[in-house]
């Protein structure tokens, strides 16, 4: 699967990671899409991008396609929060 996204929006990626991280377990695609607040074609593009970068995994629980955060996704989420904290702490007036 290849993604058409050239420059993904960091906010959407962060929200994607956030939703999955907070849920703790694999989620249905429609639920993720609703929580992200983007339309389905846009969601599919982001999902493809996330899969391509191995930030999320597709699982097949109870014969339903679900999406879960991969170890790389968890690590990326941690790095992201640390980075924001560091940026705000190092800003100077």
């Amino acid at each position: 699967m290849t993604s058409n996204l050239e420059r993904p929006d960091l906010y959407v990626v962060a929200r994607f990671l956030d939703v999955l991280y907070r849920n703790g377990s694999a989620m249905k695609k429609t639920n993720i899409q609703m929580l992200l607040g983007v339309n389905y074609p846009r969601f599919t593009e982001y999902l493809e991008w996330m899969l391509q970068h191995r930030l999320v995994l597709e699982t097949d629980e109870d014969k339903v396609d679900r999406i879960a955060l991969s170890p790389k996704g968890i690590e990326a989420y941690h790095r992201f929060v640390d980075w924001i904290k560091e940026t705000l702490e190092s800003a100077k007036i």
């Binding site: 993904p8 960091l10 906010y11 990626v13 962060a14 929200r15 990671l17 956030d18 991280y21 907070r22 703790g24 970068h53 930030l55 968890i74 990326a76 989420y77 941690h78 790095r79 992201f80 929060v81 640390d82 980075w83 924001i84 904290k85 940026t87 705000l88 702490e89 800003a91 100077k92 007036i93």
Partner: protein, 218 residues
């Protein structure tokens, strides 16, 4: 420690970090508000001074030109009333400038304040990383807006130079010196302002660059 304990510990760490980001943002907000207040007070004070010196110079010049220097000695009550009126006008101008100037920046600061208080009111655990990212972006955007433009300072120096020079010299020379002093300080102050602004722009650029770099590492 097993994997579920690991996850809980990591989750707590994330929550702690997200909450501490909001706390840092709150500190930033109070620093920005303090700075904004200082800038407004300084500008209001300078406006008062500018109007005071300007009106006093025009009045003194008019009296000396139309009457004589002895007019001040002969009409002390009139002079005191005139100076009092000028002082009241100058103070009113200063107060007006305090409330009128920078309303756009005040609105942006209030917006940031509302955003932070909304996040603080939420239940623990509902703070998201895009929320804190947007706060960080807002703070970095607001930083250049609290830098004081020093146009009034240079104008005041120009007027002061004019007033000092007009006493011993003629009007054209006083105007020339006043304009030269004004232009010189305007140049110097604009240079300082640009330097400060470019420092904040650099910070903002670094942030954008690091955002880009972060996306590339994913």
């Amino acid at each position: 420690m097993d994997s579920s304990q690991d996850k809980t510990a990591l989750g707590q760490q994330i929550e702690t970090n997200l909450n501490s980001i909001v706390d840092i943002a709150e500190k930033w907000l109070s620093r920005l508000r303090r700075r904004r207040k200082q800038v407004k007070l300084a500008s209001a004070f300078l406006t008062t001074l500018l109007v005071l010196v300007g009106l006093a110079a025009v009045s003194v010049g008019y009296i000396v030109d139309q009457y004589s220097v002895s007019f001040f000695h002969d009409h002390p009550i009139l002079i005191l009333t005139l100076l009092g009126t000028i002082a009241v006008i100058a103070i009113l101008c200063g107060v007006l400038s305090y409330f009128v100037q920078g309303r756009k920046q005040d609105a942006s600061l209030n917006e940031l304040g509302n955003l932070i208080s909304q996040m603080k009111q939420r239940n623990t655990g509902s703070l998201t990383s895009p929320d804190v990212l947007s706060i960080t972006e807002k703070i970095l955007t607001l930083l250049p807006e609290v830098v004081r433009k020093r146009n009034q300072d240079s104008f005041l120096f120009g007027i002061l130079a004019f007033v000092i020079t007009i006493l011993p010299a003629k009007l054209p020379l006083a105007i020339l010196i006043g304009v030269l002093v004004w232009l010189y300080f305007r140049y110097e102050m604009n240079k300082g302002y640009d330097k400060e602004i470019s420092r904040f722009d650099e910070q903002r650029k670094q942030f954008e660059q690091r955002k880009q770099e972060f996306m590339e590492t994913l």
